[in-house]
Structures are given as C-alpha cells and as structure tokens.
Amino acid sequence: MKQLYGSSELIEDVFDRDLCVGCGMCVDLCPYFKNYLGKTSQLFACDLEKGRCYAYCPKTEVDLGQLATAYWDRPYEGLPLGPYRKIAIARAGEKAPRGRFQGGGTVTALIAHALTTKRIDAAVLTGRDGAVGVPMVVTDPDDVSKASGSKFTASPTLAALNGAIRDGYANIGVVGTPCQITAVAQMRQNPLELKDFNDPVGLTVGLFCTWALDTRKLLPVVDECVGDACVLSMDVPPPPAEIMVIDTEEKQAQIPLSKIRPLVPLGCQLCPDMTSEWADVSVGQVEGMPGWNTLIVRTERGEQAVDQAIESGYLDVRDLPEENLQGLEKAGAGKKSRALEALAEKGGLNAQGAEGRLTLRMPPEAIANITAAKRG
C-alpha cells in the first residue's frame, strides 16, 4: 500500500528534488497549490498530516502492484506496453469533427463521441496558448478539436479535472499523459478513504509519451526560434531527423533535438510508462504512417467506447502491422529499463525504511521481466 503523508512531505519529496512535472493533480484540490506557466507552487505551508496532494501525486510513492490488482485484476508484470485487450491503428471517422490533428484524430473522435453519447458529461483536455499547455473543460463535442494536437509541454491538465469535479461533473473524460493517468488512477482508488467519495471519472484516454518538456525552459527556446509568432503546432518527426518542428501562422521553424533534450524535466526520467497503462484506452502515433494513430484498448469500458465510436462512424480502425508492434514494444521496454536504472541509482525502487517515502514499488518478477526485455 502507498504510504500517505501531507503537503510538507510532498514538498520535500517532489518539489525540493525537482521531480514535479506539473501534471496539475494537486492544483486547486485545495487553495494552496497553483500552476502558472507549467510550474506548480505551494502558496502557503499546510500542516495537515495526510493530504490528497500527496496521495494522488504520481511522483510520490507509486505502488504499481496495488494499481494492477485494482485496475487489471492481475499482478504488475512490467510488460512493455502494459496489458491490453486490443491493439490497432485508428483515425477519426467521417462523422468525427475535423481539427489540426497530430496523427489521425483518434482522441478527438473518441472524446467527441463520448460526449455526444453522454458516456461522459465533461472532458478534461489540454489546449494551447502558444507554447503553453492550457487545461480545458469541454462539454460541447464541437469544442473537442480545439484541444487537438500534441503539446510536448508538461501541462497542469488535471487542475481542470479538480475544477470539473468541484463544479459537479460526475462522469468526466480525461485525456492525459502517463503521469496524469497514473495520478488519476491513484485518485480513483480514494486512498484517503473519504466518506463522500464517488469515482468521478467516466473514461480515461491516455497518450503515449516518451518525455515532455519543461514549459518555462521551452518558452525562451521557442521565443528565440519563432519570436512573438503564435505557435500552432509542434512535432518531432521520426529518426533520423533529430529535430523538433514548430508551425506558426507565419512560418515553420526547426529546433535541433540536442537543444530540446535538456528541457526534459527530471521527473520524466523516472517514469516507466510510455503508453499510459492505467488508461481505458491509449493513443499514440504510428511510425511511418502519418494520419493514423496507434490505439490500445485496455478495459471493458474502453472497449465499449471504441466499439460504439466505430459503429457510429467516428472512428476507422485497422490492424497494426506486426513490425510496428515490435517497434512499439521495444520503445516501451526501453523507457521502462531506463526508468529502472535511474530509480535504482536514486535508491527509489522498492526502497524501505526512511528512504522508502519516495519510491516506485513493483514486484520482483516485473523487475526481472523489464531487465530481461532489455537484454532480449
């Protein structure tokens, strides 16, 4: 079981060690945590011994075994992509709204459909204000595409989830990165055993993520590259391009990845999850197939949401080519083994005792699997 503490320990364990990725889970849960330009800050010290901020944070202790039992009803095995029911390629169908999609528009299609069919009553998404990710709560299916396209910045999206819960939404769709989906998964377990808790999340769509960028570090780099021009989209083309491409209304600019990699927050380097394993469905790019997404269906309700979207013409789905699956597994396994190494170095893997507060817990079998996958 995850050990529970309060905000003082959250500050010590996460903020002071520069591990916060600004997912937004603690923001606006209470009046003390705020996020501005990607950085989360605590306004005043709070002396509560246990808090939701610590309990939900994806960078405090995370017990993957406990989450696996709760969500998958099976042990955590360290599989490269996590367990799933189906894997396929997908793109927005003809009924789905159009937008400036990163891949095939699968996320926009799924969320728009879930809102239309009242599977969810609100969706928590990430919009864009230039290079800054902006949390959004969307209830109108036509507004979903305003949040389309990858942001590449760590964004406090989950602040909008806390806002939506406070506003009374009870079946919320959440689109988030693996850290955000992990935070939501912990929150849904009601770790503080609050009496009036009802799981407010109706659907989670997880995004693939190898790393995100620190907004505050990215802003001057983008400024230098495109000046005042408003950023419309960003992309990292597949290797060997080694560049980030930024589109503005005026021009397309390129930044070498060597300038981008130092902007990855420390917290991302400890993350073992590339494909948002705790989501109902996970969506990412497909290498070599622009206009399409990889779609991983993990849970029963995820499967229902996908199947109904296909039936209604919101989603086109085809088989994932075998070589793409292999490539994806290799990348997923790679992220896991890199995280394991970084965690082992920091003493943050299955640590016990006084150092055990900041740690990632997983069964020894999972560690063995991850290590073996790397060797294989």
């Binding site: 306004l43 005043f44 808090g51």
Partner: protein
C-alpha cells in the same frame, strides 16, 4: 479651533507635551509652521492647523522633512518667526539643508522641533537627532516638563533671533504624548510683514543674500553664534540644581529623564545623598555652570535616553576641567549602569542609582515579578502585530504573496515605511524582505533590478504608500526608469498618511488647515516618468493577482497602483462596503482541505475559529465589511452582499 489658540494668559490647563509646544509657538507669534507627520510629533502641526485661521499662521504638511525645513526657513529669511516640526528620523532627511542653513544663519526666529521615540515604540529604528546639533553647530534645548515644553519653545525663538541661527528643541514620546499642567502666557499681537531683503552686501546678515559663501567666514560666524548661545546658557532658568551642597552622586539629566530621576531619588529616599543637575540647554553645555556643579561630587551619573550624548559631552568638559574639579567616576548608559538601549523608566534609574550607592533595590517582589511574567506568557493570547480588519494592505500583500509564489522565481518585496512595513510579518504574509527608510524600498529595488547581468533572475517588487511616494520614492522611481532597472513598484494608495492619523499629502485635495488644494495624480506622475503604469482595486484579488503576474514577467519599470482607502479612514469609518456572512452549514471546518485558510493564514481579525462548532465564523463587530474573505474561502461558505 482648539484651546491652544484661544485660551488666555494665566489660565492653567492640562496639556499634552505637544499641545504645550504648539502653545509656545503661538505665544511666540510664529507665522509659519511646516512639518511632515511622524509619531510622536504629529499633534504639533495638527494643533497649529486648528489655530491657523484665528492666529494667522500659515501651516503646511510638507512633502517631506527637508522641504518642511526649507519652507520654514524661507519665512525666517523674510523676517518672520517660523518652525519646522518632525520626528527624529525626519531630521536625517532634513539634515542636508540643516547644515547649510546653519552656515547661512537665520533672520526671523526659527526653531526645529524633533520629537523622538526612545524604545522605538512607533518607529523602525531607535535613532536620535541630538548629535546633529553638535554636528551642525546649533544650540539644543530639551524641556524637562510640560510647562517647560511651552516656555522653552517660546524662548527658543528669542534665542534664535539673538544668535541669528536655527535653534533645535528635542522632545521625546513621554513628554510629547504625556500630559501635565501648564500655565499659559499671553497671546501676542503681531502683524507680520514678510519681505526678503537681499540687496545688501554678501556679508550683511540682515539685508545680504542668504548663501553659504564665503565658507570660512560663515563657519567662523557659526562658531561665534554658538559661543553667544553658550554665554546665554550660563545663566538660564531652564538649568537648575536640586540637592545637597556636597552630594555623594551628582545626576546630570534632561528631558523626561529628569522626571524619572526625581521619582528614582524619591523611591530610594536618597534626597540627602544625591544631587540632580537638570539641564535644559544640552548643547553646548555651559562650561562655567557645569564646572560649579561637577565640582560638587566625585561621582557623575548621567541619565538620558538613546545615545550617551550628554554623558560624552560632560566627560569631555570634565577632562578639560580636571585640574580644577578633580577626577571623576562616570556612570550612565556608557558603562552599563543604565541599559544601553530602549526607553528608561524610574525603576531602571533607581536600580542604576542603587548600584552606585551600593544599596539593595528590587523594583518588585520577586515572587510577584515571576507570577506576572508567567501570566503574561500563558494568560494573554499570542498576538503578532497585525493589520486591522478590512485593511487594504492585507489584501494587497495576499495578492503580492500569491503572485510571487505562483510566479515561482523566488521573487521578493522591498518594503518601506508606513503600516505596510508589517509586510515583513505574518500579517503581510512575510513577503517584504528588506525594510529601511522612507522611499528606500524603491531605491533598493532599483538596485536589485540591475543585478540581472550577474545572474539574478528573481523578480523584484517594491511597495510604498501614497504619502511615501511623494516623500522620497519619486527620485528612486526616476532612478529606476533612467537606469533601465527591471522592477515593479506597488503603490498601496490608501488615500492618506494613515499610520500617523490621516494627515493630507500632495495626492489629496485638502491641506493641513482643510483648505482645498490641487491633488497630484500618482499614476500621471509615474507615467510621465516613463514607467508602465496600471491601477487595480486590491479588494479585487483576481484582477490584482493577474496584473501582478503579468508585470512580474514584463521587463522595465512597472508601477501598479493598488487604490483602496484605509479601513479606518474618516471617509469610510463605520460604513461597511459589504455585509459579510459565513454559513456554518457550508463551512467544512476541520474536514476542509483548506486547513483553516481564513483563520490560520489570511487571519483577518474579523474572522474567528469557533472551537465548539469547529467552523470559522465572522465577528460582526470587528468585521469592517471589505468582503475579501469571500474571495478566499474555497467552499463558498462566506458570502458578501452590498451594504445598503
């Protein structure tokens, strides 16, 4: 108008020291009085303002103490009696002019009244101004009681006219703000006529130009004038000796310390063993008079407040007189017989005197002292200095604190002088990290704002009040703009010099006497200086924080004016903006994730924690209806409705 301006000769009234000083100024027939507010001096100008019409006195609250002294000096140059009034820190501000004024000399009688604050009851420092008298070679008087406060003030004008130089009077809190009986003198029948005569020779003290050249000549003249003063001090009714012909201990004292000393001598019942030399003319000390009395005893105990000013001067005199008066043993603040800091009181003086006399003395029964100390710690609620209920500064500092934390670059505030000096305390959420003199917040911020080239990335903010803006912050702002500093100045405009009692300043439409005057607009001034200027209502937390956040990232010099009248301002008093209510059914109390944000952190005195219901509630009597707490409660338990 006040009793000060109309009561007749021979009447006896209970007067505060500052009332007595004001009466002395009126009895002297002064025509001009200028000052800047500051505790414990403010009542002097206020009293004169009340009598201004009746007594035909021009009274002004000047923009700062230096200008006050300059305004007063102009009247002297034109032949009128005139006075400049300030607290001790103000003399520092005026000191540059004061040196030059002493060089040029005065014409109409001119006095400077410095009211000082030993123990810093109402100040950010425990400084004192008497050394300025020595530094600038002007005579210094210190009244020892309330009657003297009046009489010496009146006499000071005559002295000034005799020596043709400024005369300085020093009062302290326990004289300025305490009260005693004063027998009044006649009100003068003066018909002043102002004319500045300058056609005479450069050396002509009556009709020449008033300049400091030639310097050597003028400096010699200064010293001649001082010697004239000393001659007058040799036979002055404000100096007197009380006690036996050959006391074991001679106490040299002045000002309120004279009263403490008399009480201490009575407490110890040592009237036969101790003599008290009460000095009214404390700089320069008259050497012949001093010689006569210093010869009386081998032990000299100087009792005075703040610096050992008189003590040192007595030692210097005694050294020169040693051949004739013999060697002395000296006691005072210098050797620890009296504490070196803080106010004195009769008990401390008695304790010091008892040690010299090798007597047993305990101020209070030790058991009583222990019990009273214990109950002071355990019995009284712990209270830090705090802003009043509904104070706009609390709201401003809340927004400043939150904006700086949200900005997250370790930004900080350079504080300044006013109620908002509490910005460094929990009531101001401890955002102010520097605090010095009037206007210094912006000057220091201007300097911090140039350290970017050395790797400093922290946002820099200064705060200042509306009166402080005019007093000394304007040059600092000019400096910041001109040097292209990177900083944000927040003017907390609460529509008055609130801390000292709502005296007017150049931003307001009424002067000291209540006459209508043109107001200068702070935002126009700042804009004309070249700053980027914005205005907000500090009670609107969202807008204020949004604007602050934007300014923190904007380059250059920004000025944000947070305008909201003081909760105690005469225009607001008694009227609530909102009726604020707290619904205990909505307040989640201890179960709320806010962890008592309103009573633990925001801490307006109008909000109370009810330990029985374990919810917050609003103390209607204390609440002044600003409504800010309604914006802070995350549960929406606090609501505000516009007061009718």
């Amino acid at each position: 108008m006040s009793i000060i301006g109309k009561a007749k000769e021979g009447e006896r009234h209970l007067l505060m020291g500052n009332d007595a000083i004001a009466r002395g100024i009126i009895e002297a027939g002064a025509s001009v009085a200028a000052g800047y507010p500051g505790t414990p001096s403010s009542e002097i100008i206020e009293n004169l303002a009340k009598a201004a019409k009746e007594r035909n006195i021009y009274v002004e609250w000047s923009v700062n103490e230096k200008v006050a002294m300059e305004v007063a000096a102009a009247a002297s140059f034109a032949g009128l009696r005139t006075v400049a009034v300030m607290k001790q820190v103000g003399v520092n501000v005026a000191s540059d002019f004061m040196l030059h004024l002493s060089e040029t000399g005065t014409r109409g009688g001119m006095i400077l009244i410095s009211c000082e604050d030993p123990g810093a009851l109402s100040s950010g420092n425990e400084g004192e101004s008497r050394p300025f008298a020595k530094l600038f070679e002007v005579p210094l008087l210190e009244p020892g009681d309330f009657q003297e406060a009046k009489d010496m003030t009146r006499w000071a004008f005559e002295l000034s006219e005799k020596v043709r130089n400024l005369v300085m009077i020093r009062s302290v809190t326990r004289l300025s703000h305490a009260s005693g009986n004063v027998t009044l003198g006649p009100l003068p029948d003066v018909v002043p006529h102002a004319r500045f005569k300058f056609r005479g020779d450069e050396m002509d003290p009556d009709e020449g130009p008033v300049v400091t050249f030639p310097v050597a000549y003028r400096h010699t003249l200064m010293q001649t004038k001082l010697a004239q003063a000393v001659a007058l001090f040799e036979d002055c009714p404000f100096n007197r000796y009380e006690g036996p012909e050959q006391p074991e201990v001679l106490i040299v004292t002045s000002s309120a310390c004279y009263l403490y000393t008399k009480e201490a001598v009575d407490l110890l019942d040592v009237q036969d063993r101790v003599g008290v030399l009460k000095m009214g003319t404390t700089w320069p000390l008259p050497p012949k008079y001093m010689e006569k009395h210093l010869a009386k005893s081998k032990i000299i105990f100087t009792v005075e407040e703040v610096l050992p000013f008189m003590e040192d001067n007595v030692k210097i005199l005694a050294a020169g007189l040693a051949e004739r008066i013999g060697f002395k043993r000296f006691h005072g603040r210098g050797d620890g017989t009296l504490p070196a800091v803080n106010e004195l009181n009769p008990d401390l003086v008695a304790a010091g005197l008892a040690r010299i006399l090798e007597m047993e003395y305990t101020a209070a029964d030790p058991e009583y002292a222990r019990l009273s100390e214990e109950s002071a710690i355990s019995g009284a609620p712990q209270r830090d200095l705090a802003f009043c209920a509904g104070c706009p500064h609390r709201a401003s500092f809340w927004s400043l604190h939150n904006a700086l934390e949200i900005d997250g670059r370790e930004g900080f505030v350079c504080g300044d002088i006013g109620c908002y000096a509490l910005g460094s305390r929990p009531t101001g959420f401890s955002v102010s990290k520097t605090g010095h003199a009037m206007g210094s917040g912006t000057g220091v911020a201007s300097g911090f704002g140039k350290l970017g080239r050395f790797g400093m990335t922290q946002p820099v903010v200064s705060v200042c009040g509306d009166s402080t803006f005019f007093h000394a912050a304007m040059p600092a702002l000019v400096n910041a703009v001109h040097t292209q500093s990177e900083m944000t100045m927040v003017v907390m405009d609460n529509s008055g010099t609130a801390m000292t009692g709502f005296q007017p300043h150049p931003g307001l439409t009424a002067d000291a006497a209540g006459e209508e005057v043109p107001a200068l607009d702070i935002s126009d001034i700042a804009r004309a200086m070249g700053a980027n200027v914005d205005v907000a209502d500090p009670f609107d937390l969202d807008t204020t924080q949004r604007k602050l956040l934007a300014l923190l990232s904007k380059g250059g010099v920004n000025v944000l004016i947070l305008k909201q009248a003081c909760a105690l301002s005469p225009e607001k008093k008694g009227k609530k903006l909102y009726n604020v209510t707290l619904d205990p059914a909505i307040c989640l109390g201890e179960n709320c994730g806010c962890n008592k944000l309103c009573t633990r952190v925001f801490k307006c005195p109008g909000l109370k924690w009810d330990s029985e219901t374990k919810t917050a509630h609003i103390d209607e009597l204390t609440c002044s209806g600003c409504g800010v707490c309604a914006s802070i409660c995350p549960s929406g338990a606090i609501t505000k409705k516009e007061a009718v």
